[in-house]
């Protein structure tokens, strides 16, 4: 079994076997990062560019560390400290850096579809580390990995994604990944934070959080941004918290052995209370650790993959 594409642009269209391959591969890397010496020579001689056009803490550190632990050579680039400020286009920036002989590019960008542009103007393997509101495949993969490690399966589990569904790339990638793996998926958000024609995603949709999480196994909570309130999408954070916040009270509706997830960064006291975030069912920090294993697996599986192997 191999991945079909030489890039990881999104989870939409990925087959269950491909996702399983990534998760299985991540298991072995998960074991490596528990070792006292966490470095393997797998990607020695491979040069990876981390192209971060948008601020990021955990995804960026996670990728950088994953690359280093695989012995790759890495360069990190952030928009604020580069020629982008001088008006250089994404295409020129990448082509210039690629002229220094790069093998793989990890890109985070605020424009949906930006990684597709890179596949057209470079020869490197492209990994999407979050593009606009489109996809964030490694985040969803680490979510799937975390769930699978706990329940030993994904099929048949009820997973609810609560929060700003409309603007969330994490939600979109989770929908495709979870559906491919046979989980039952539900979305929950104020109707103004649901994307248009959300019913066509083929998942259950709720605007009442209690109905949404009733009988669920996993609740994955998305961040609510203050800008959304300013844009008039909901009246106040207070009202949001009252209607949609995940509180200890509401946890009673979940199945026994439930799991609380959050991709971070959290707004404690808004979409999630500290009690829930730090409770024994929370795997929020485990997600971060697992993210590293997933990124190592993705880098490993894509490295050296050429066009003709597609």
């Amino acid at each position: 079994m191999k991945l079909k594409s030489r890039h990881l642009l999104g989870l939409e269209g990925l087959a269950a076997e491909e996702i399983t391959l990534i998760l299985d591969t991540a298991e072995s890397f998960r074991e490596i990062i528990e070792r006292p010496i966490k470095k393997v020579p797998t990607l020695r001689g491979v040069t990876i560019l981390n192209l971060f056009y948008e601020p990021s803490t955990r995804t960026r550190i996670s990728f950088e560390l994953a690359e280093k632990r695989l012995s790759a050579d890495t360069i990190s680039f952030s928009k604020s400290m580069s020629s982008v400020k001088k008006g250089e286009s994404l295409k020129d920036t990448v082509r210039n850096i690629e002229a220094l002989k790069i093998n793989m590019i990890v890109i985070r960008h605020s424009s949906s579809g930006a990684p597709y542009l890179l596949t057209r103007c470079t020869d490197s393997n492209i990994i999407n580390a979050g593009d606009g509101r489109h996809e964030h495949p490694t985040q969803a993969l680490l979510d799937l990995f975390t769930i699978r490690r706990k329940y030993k399966k994904l099929k048949g589990l009820r997973v609810v994604l609560v929060g700003d569904v409309k603007h969330s790339r994490v939600v979109r990638s989770n929908i495709w990944g979870l559906k491919a793996m046979g989980a039952s998926v539900a979305l929950c958000a104020p109707s103004t934070l649901l994307p248009y024609e959300v019913d066509k995603f083929g998942v259950d949709v709720y605007t009442n959080v209690e109905e949404a999480i009733d009988g669920a196994d996993v609740v994955n909570i998305m961040r609510i941004q203050l800008e959304r309130q300013q844009a008039g999408l909901f009246p106040s954070q207070r009202e949001y918290t009252n209607l949609f916040g995940i509180t200890k009270e509401r946890l009673k509706l979940l199945n026994k052995n439930f799991t609380i997830m959050h991709p971070g960064p959290m707004n404690r006291g808004i979409e999630i209370t500290s009690e829930v975030a730090d409770g024994k069912s929370s795997v929020i920090l485990e997600q971060v650790t697992n993210g590293q294993a997933i990124r190592m697996a993705v880098l490993y599986l894509l490295s050296g993959k050429k066009e003709e192997t597609e």
Binding site: L90, H109, G132, R133, H134, E135, Y196, K200
Partner: protein, 437 residues
Amino acid sequence: MAKAKYDLVIKGGRVVDPELGFGSEAYIFIADGKISEISKETAAIRKKVAALPAEKVIDATGKLVTPGLIDMHVHLREPGREDKETVTTGCQAAAAGGFTSVCCMPNTSPAIDNQEAVKFVLSRAEYADARVYVIGAITKGLKGEELAEIGDLVKTGAVAISDDGNYVQNPEIMRRALEYAGMFKIPIITHAEDQYLCADGVMNESYEGSRLGLKGRPAVGEVIAVLRDIKLCQFVGGRLHVAHVSTAGAVAAIREAKKEGIKVTAEVAPHHFSLTDEEIGKEFNTNLRVNPPLRTQKDVEAVVEALVDGTIDCIASDHAPHSEEEKDVEFDMAPPGMIGLETTLGLVKTRLIDKGYLSWGDAVRKMTYNPARILGLPGGKLEVGAAADITVIDPDKKWTVRKEKFRSKSKNSPFIGWKLSAKVAYTILGGRVVYKG
């Protein structure tokens, strides 16, 4: 226009003309830039043609001969963005697409919102390969705040006014514009997309947009904008023309308004009957970014139906050239618009005529006669004594759209690689062959 005398005869083509009818074979004689005679084949005619030198005779046997096509919605980018297109290159593209007349929109830099700007564009067009008619701005700088000097614009030659690219968001300004333009008997062309509902949107608001995470320009933004302008037109009079209708809802509103006798006309662009928003997700091709955006299959069906039943009067390209460097960026950073002059005829044939929606007669009417009547332009029919603006079309010739073949200075077409039917054989402007296929 060139001063030299060109004698030409177009022999044996099937004439497609809104007034002469369809399909009869005829000889069209051209003298001094004008049509001097239209005749059926007779022994005398044959003899007369045989006496002419071969280079004066265009053999149009098996081809269609139509009035020179008129594109009432193009962007020539001059003044200001001559890197994308100039009047000269835009008219070369027009000629290659079979158009002998184009109407250029005023969203240039600076905008065509005053006499001098109109004069400038007309002066650039003097020796071009197509006739250029100028559409002036509704408001100064296309800002939607103060009326432009519409009287002056008309006096200098503007045939209509439009803030194309922007909706005149303030209903009070639009009301005054309709009233004022009514004095000069010119239509107002509305780019109907509510600026609040469509703010920052880059594609249709639909499942496709939701899936791709691109901000939407909802169909309702067009519907509301069209309805408001129709109601204003009904209230104060004047004439309204709706540019590039893209939604089923706007079609329904226009159909209803026409029934009520409101003076509204409409056009559709080829991409809105040829493409849907489902194309975008394949690779985020920025040549698919356009305002109004590509819509759903249901909308495509509605605009086609509206072409068939006459709700939509015209087909216009909305030719919008953009440089490669501006388009070769992230999808939401690319400017909206695509070129269209050189692919419109092929798309009309392939997507409308071949599928049985329109006859050649209908199609030619929507690309000549109707725009000419709406804007009060000469042309749109073949007439003895009129300027010899004629398009000769090879109706079933198959061809592939190639980037390197475009005469437009810009190449931003999503139709590159498409196989189309119907190709321009000759474009004749005032008796002069400006394009030979």
